[in-house]
Structures are given as C-alpha cells and as structure tokens.
C-alpha cells in the first residue's frame, strides 16, 4: 500500500484516499497549435507514456481532504515517495537531477523553455 501525505492540507492516507491522475507533465499539443498538429503528435499525447523502472512523476488529487491536485515523485521499484510539489510546478532541482531517460529529456526541454520565457 502506498501511504500518501497531501502537501497542501496534510491529510495522510493510503492511495485510495487520493485520486490517481496518471503521468505528470503531459502537455496537450493542440492547446497551442490546434491546426498544425500531426497525427503522430496527437498519438504521442494520447497514448505514449513514460514507464520507467525507478523515479517516476505522477499526479494525485486529495479526494477526502482539501480537494487539490498535486504532484508526486515516486520510485516505481521501492514505492518510495521522493517528493511532493505543486500541480503547476516542476520537481525540485535535486529530484530533476536524478531523473533518467524520457524524464531527463522532458525536464531538460521544460527547464530550457522556462529560462527562455523568463
């Protein structure tokens, strides 16, 4: 059983007290460019998910507490929760540094983008 503590209201419970929101940080391409979306991009958005052995990033909602969405960084092997962070935020830098594979690529892209738009 996964024991979760809500970073907003502090409610603690098992995963059934929370609503699992699937993989985190999925950007919907059609939001910014509905006309220019290719089938491949849309397929990527709808179906392709990162499925790592190790550090993973997910969304959850505090169903029985404050009702807010938040992010969880979890190790899929040990089930250890490494960090909680806001639903509009990227993971803390020390956690991003540990990300591998698809996640490392995604965060590199997002942090570069964030710097550019600053």
């Amino acid at each position: 059983m996964l024991l979760v503590t809500c970073p907003i209201c502090g409610a603690e419970g098992d995963e059934t007290d929370f609503h699992f929101g699937g993989q985190a940080h999925i950007a919907r391409p059609a939001t910014t460019n509905p006309e220019g979306i290719t089938d491949a991009q849309q397929r990527e958005y709808l179906f392709t998910r990162i499925n790592p052995k190790g550090l993973h990033f997910e969304r959850a909602r505090c169903d029985r507490g404050c009702g807010k969405w938040f992010h969880i960084a979890r190790d899929t092997m040990t089930m250890e929760i490494k960090a909680y962070y806001g639903v509009t935020e990227l993971p803390p830098p020390d956690i991003i540094a540990q990300a591998k594979g698809g996640w490392a690529e995604l965060f590199a892209e997002r942090t570069a983008h964030a710097k550019k738009t600053k």
């Binding site: 907003i8 209201c9 502090g10 409610a11 419970g13 098992d14 007290d17 029985r64 507490g65 404050c66 009702g67 807010k68």
Partner: protein
C-alpha cells in the same frame, strides 16, 4: 422577495434530515442531530488581500489560513477546508442575510459565497468515548495531540465523504452530505453500542 420573507419561507419548508428519527438509546456516547445551523460555502484566494479584508469586514474574523483550523467570532465560525475554501457557520435563519452581505462585500473580487445550509446534515458525537467512536469509522488517530478543540478536517468516515470539527474535548461535530444522514446515524449507533467500548483506548 425580501430577506425577512425568505426566512419565514425557510422556516415553513425546512425539515432536517433526521427530523422524524428518535435519538438512539443504548449508546455510550450521545448522538444527536444539529439541525438549525446555517452553512455558507465561501471561496476565494487566501493570498488575495482584498478578499480576506472583505470577508473579515462581514464576518468579523480573519479567515484561518492554517490547514485544519477554525476561527470563531460570536456565533459565526469559519472552518478551513482548503487554501481557497471555507465553511462559514452561523444560525440557520441568519444564513441568507449573511450570504447576501458576503456577496455584496465581495463584488468585483474573484470569489463565491453560497448558502449551502441544506447540503449537509450534522451529527454531534458527545461524551467520554466520542473520539473512540470516531476512530471506529476512520483511519485517523483521534488521541493524537493535534486533535484539539478547533481542529477541522475532511475525511472518509465509514466509507463516505465527511467533515468533522472538534468543538470541545469530547464534543465532535460530524458533517455528512444530507442523503447520508441516516446511514451515518445507523453506523454511529452501532459503533457506539454499549458494551462495545474499546478498553485499550481508555486511560
């Protein structure tokens, strides 16, 4: 329709969820419905100074910002539900007027005030074993030091969505959606049946 007329209409049609139900006997805590309490759902950002000031001007209290806390001023009480949501408690007949006052004071501010007095039923669990009975329906440790008077929390109680407020040491108000009132009373009546006290929890 003026507010005074509104209040009399309310009196005429309102019937509490457990109105026709006899209070349970043979329980080791007292269980009774609190029916004449008004409840207002108030939403706005706790970081918005204008919102916080307007709420204070009407309610007389600073809306609590700390999770799981409440504030009281006279017969008005604000329960923290999330960083942008509070439940305002007042006398039931005052709820429509207080909602109107809030709406007026909050005009132009990103916010919402709705009279939801009919949305929930309130059951007061009172007596020596109140915490113990609450523990039978939830995964929380009500003997923990955090669980002081004033404490507020939304939980899953007996598998349904609920909200509780510790009013005094052995007085806990349990809020459930109205359609669950009988179910909750049934559950509590069973959980608090005399003879089912939990010795391990007794000091």
């Amino acid at each position: 329709m003026t507010l005074t007329e509104g209040a009399s209409v309310l009196e005429a049609v309102f019937e509490s969820a457990l109105a026709h139900r006899a209070e349970p006997t043979n329980t080791y805590v007292s269980l009774h419905e609190i029916s004449m309490r008004g409840m207002i759902d108030l939403r706005g950002l706790n970081t918005d100074k204008k919102f916080m000031a307007a709420a204070k001007q009407v309610l007389g209290i600073d809306l609590p910002k700390a999770p799981r806390t409440s504030e009281t001023f006279g017969d008005v009480k604000a329960l923290w539900l999330s960083p942008d949501q509070w439940m305002i408690l007042c006398a039931r007949d005052k709820a429509p007027a207080l909602t109107a006052q809030l709406t007026e004071a909050l005009a132009g501010i990103h916010s919402l005030a709705v009279d939801v007095s009919d949305m929930r039923a309130i059951i007061r669990v009172e007596g020596e074993g109140a915490r113990e009975v609450m523990m039978k329906g939830s995964s929380l440790d009500f003997t923990d030091d955090d669980f002081k008077p004033g404490y507020v929390r939304r939980i899953r109680f007996a598998e349904i969505a609920a909200l509780f407020n510790i009013v005094e040491d052995n007085v806990i108000d349990l809020y459930v959606f109205r359609s669950y009132a009988h179910y909750t009373m049934d559950f509590l009546t069973k959980a608090a049946r005399k003879g089912s006290e939990v010795a391990a929890l007794r000091k």
